[in-house]
């Protein structure tokens, strides 16, 4: 494993540099900032409307749940995770990596790390900005900061898990985006509402189990989306998500190292 550290670092540094330059990054960065923009619109509307007030914690909790968790991190993980191997193959640049003294597993792990850190940063900036705008009058309250920290941690864990899952899908499947879309907006967004044990077959179930109580406790306009959640214990949820992440990454590295890629003009 120590032999992997240097090449993983090199690949990580290369792709952290590249991802900032990529055109799609600018588009996704704008999407990631949507919660902040929405929060600003809500705030301005409240200021301009006499007698109106904003329930900052409830809006923030619902935003994290419905936009960041159920949409943004899924989309980011899908497009960046599947592209970890696919963009090199479609762009025919994989040759520049596989003919270097870099194990193929390091390519997967380094790119996964770079994309994870970059996307995580993008999501956190959007969430933190939305939090600051929506809870501007409660910033002295430590409990609110804990809500933010917990939300950010859940989103980071979700991003790490989905990114690993879609990295594996990208290595194994030719039409990984199509599979991913069905998985994200079919399986992951519908099955968690099934009562009983079925919802435990989704990753979303474990993430929702970890969300702060304000988001899962039945408050807010979108609380109906949570009403059938039968949460797992936090420790069990974290262990499950970590195990899925490790297994998906391990399998992706194993499969990628055994695959052959050929490019013709």
């Amino acid at each position: 494993m120590s032999g992997l550290a240097r090449p993983v670092r090199s690949i990580f540094s290369f792709y952290l540099f590249l991802v900032r330059r990529a055109r799609r990054t600018k588009a996704f960065a704008l999407v990631a900032l949507l919660p902040a923009v929405t929060a600003l619109v809500i705030r301005i509307n409240a200021w301009l409307t006499p007698g109106a007030s904003v329930d900052g914690p409830a809006v923030f909790a619902n935003m994290v749940l419905t936009f960041n968790l159920q949409f943004l991190i899924l989309v980011l993980a899908l497009f960046y995770g599947t592209s970890i191997s696919a963009e090199e193959i479609e762009g025919r640049t994989l040759t520049y990596l596989t003919t270097r003294p870099v194990p193929k597993a390091a390519i997967i792990l380094g790119k996964y790390g770079a994309y994870g850190v970059f996307l995580g940063g993008m999501v956190i900036v959007g969430v933190a900005a939305a939090f600051a705008i929506l809870e501007a009058d409660r910033l002295a309250d430590a409990a609110e900061w804990l809500v933010l920290l917990r939300s950010v941690a859940v989103l980071a864990l979700g991003l790490a898990t989905y990114l690993a899952f879609f990295t594996l899908a990208g290595v194994l499947l030719r039409k990984s985006i199509l599979f991913g879309l069905m998985f994200c907006f079919g399986w992951e967004n519908i099955v968690p509402y099934f009562p009983g044990a079925t919802q435990r077959l989704t990753l979303m179930h474990y993430l929702k189990s970890l969300l702060p109580p304000v988001a899962t406790g039945g408050e807010g306009r979108f609380a109906f989306l949570m009403f059938k959640l039968e949460p797992s214990a936090p420790a069990a949820a974290v262990i499950t998500l970590a195990a899925v992440t490790a297994a998906a990454l391990g399998l992706a590295c194993w499969a990628f190292a055994r695959k052959e890629y050929s490019f013709e003009e």
Binding site: L18, P101, S262
Partner: protein
């Protein structure tokens, strides 16, 4: 000759399609040309040698070590891929520097080596330009720069002259010769015989995934010369020219081309044929506009060699 690259019964299938069949070769220092028409198996061979593909059968070794998944060996190999593919968000300097960091060099050393490699391929002045703004010739030279920047012992160049204008071709041929003079082992592929001839006298002919012939240029030329060649001549009066040459024993066949003023001769003895043709022109018997050899097309040469 000490073999740097050695293959033994090397074969590769893509599903049911044969890419390479039973290739046994030993390649030593200097330039070896891999010649064959498109689809002959040149790129497959190079990908096997650079560890991008796993042999279906047989062995490929570099410096007596197997290549597949042997990443330590890759530090000693420089590969110039055929495809015109880059990270277009990068500048030329960033591209070479970042790839050098993947070789294990520190940032400072990578930048120094990248600068040296870019100067070698005469791209130093363009190092800060984004790759999407590079011309085809510049991109081809940049691929050479990333191939040589880490100072590898073995260079594998897949169609490095493909799609280049004559000036760029001359530059790259000169670069490759300089690398040979510096003691490198170089395997270079092309489907154009004169390109390979300009680089080396040691040639391996590949066709349909098999070695068709192997040797130096005169040997390959001799093989080719055993077979009839076509020479097309465009002139004002092709019928008179044909009459003047038809009596020569070297002329096997005469055909009048589809274009007006063109006559195509088939000959087994090119020297005798061209000697007589030159005399006719010098005597002022003919006003010749153009002489071309359809046989310069490598596919035609291969057709002769395989008897199709």
């Amino acid at each position: 000759m000490t073999a740097v690259i050695r293959t033994q019964g090397l074969s590769k299938w893509y599903g049911n399609v044969l890419g390479l069949s039973d290739v046994t070769l030993e390649i030593g220092a200097g330039i070896t040309g891999l010649l064959g028409p498109n689809g002959a198996g040149k790129s497959t061979f190079m990908k096997l040698v650079t560890g991008q593909l796993k042999p279906s059968l047989g062995r490929v070794e570099i410096l007596d070590r197997p290549v597949w998944n042997n990443t330590a060996l890759f530090a000693r190999i420089g590969f110039c891929p055929e495809q015109d593919a880059f990270y277009d968000e990068l500048t030329g300097g960033e591209f070479v520097t970042r790839l050098l960091e993947l070789q294990g060099f520190s940032r400072a050393e990578a930048e120094e080596r990248a600068g040296k490699a870019l100067r070698f391929v005469e791209l130093a002045a363009e190092k800060d330009r984004l790759l999407r703004g590079y011309s085809r010739g510049m991109r081809q030279r940049l691929k050479i720069a990333q191939t040589i920047a880490h100072d590898p012992d073995i260079l594998i160049l897949d169609e490095p002259l493909n799609g280049l204008d004559p000036l760029s071709k001359r530059k790259i041929i000169r670069l490759i010769r300089d690398l040979r003079d510096a003691g490198r082992t170089i395997l270079v592929s092309s489907h154009v015989l004169p390109e390979i001839e300009a680089l080396t006298r040691s040639i391996v002919l590949l066709h349909h995934g098999k070695i068709l012939a192997q040797g130096d240029v005169p040997y390959i030329r001799e093989l080719i010369d055993k077979h009839p060649h076509k020479v097309a001549v465009t002139c004002a009066d092709p019928r008179t020219l044909a009459a003047g040459l038809l009596g020569q024993p070297s002329v096997l066949n005469v055909q009048f081309g589809p274009e007006a003023g063109t006559v195509v001769f088939e000959t087994r003895d090119r020297d005798a044929f061209f000697g007589r043709l030159t005399r006719l022109i010098a005597e002022g018997a003919q006003d010749v506009e153009e002489i071309t050899s359809p046989d310069d097309n490598l596919q035609a040469v291969f057709d002769y060699l395989v008897g199709t």
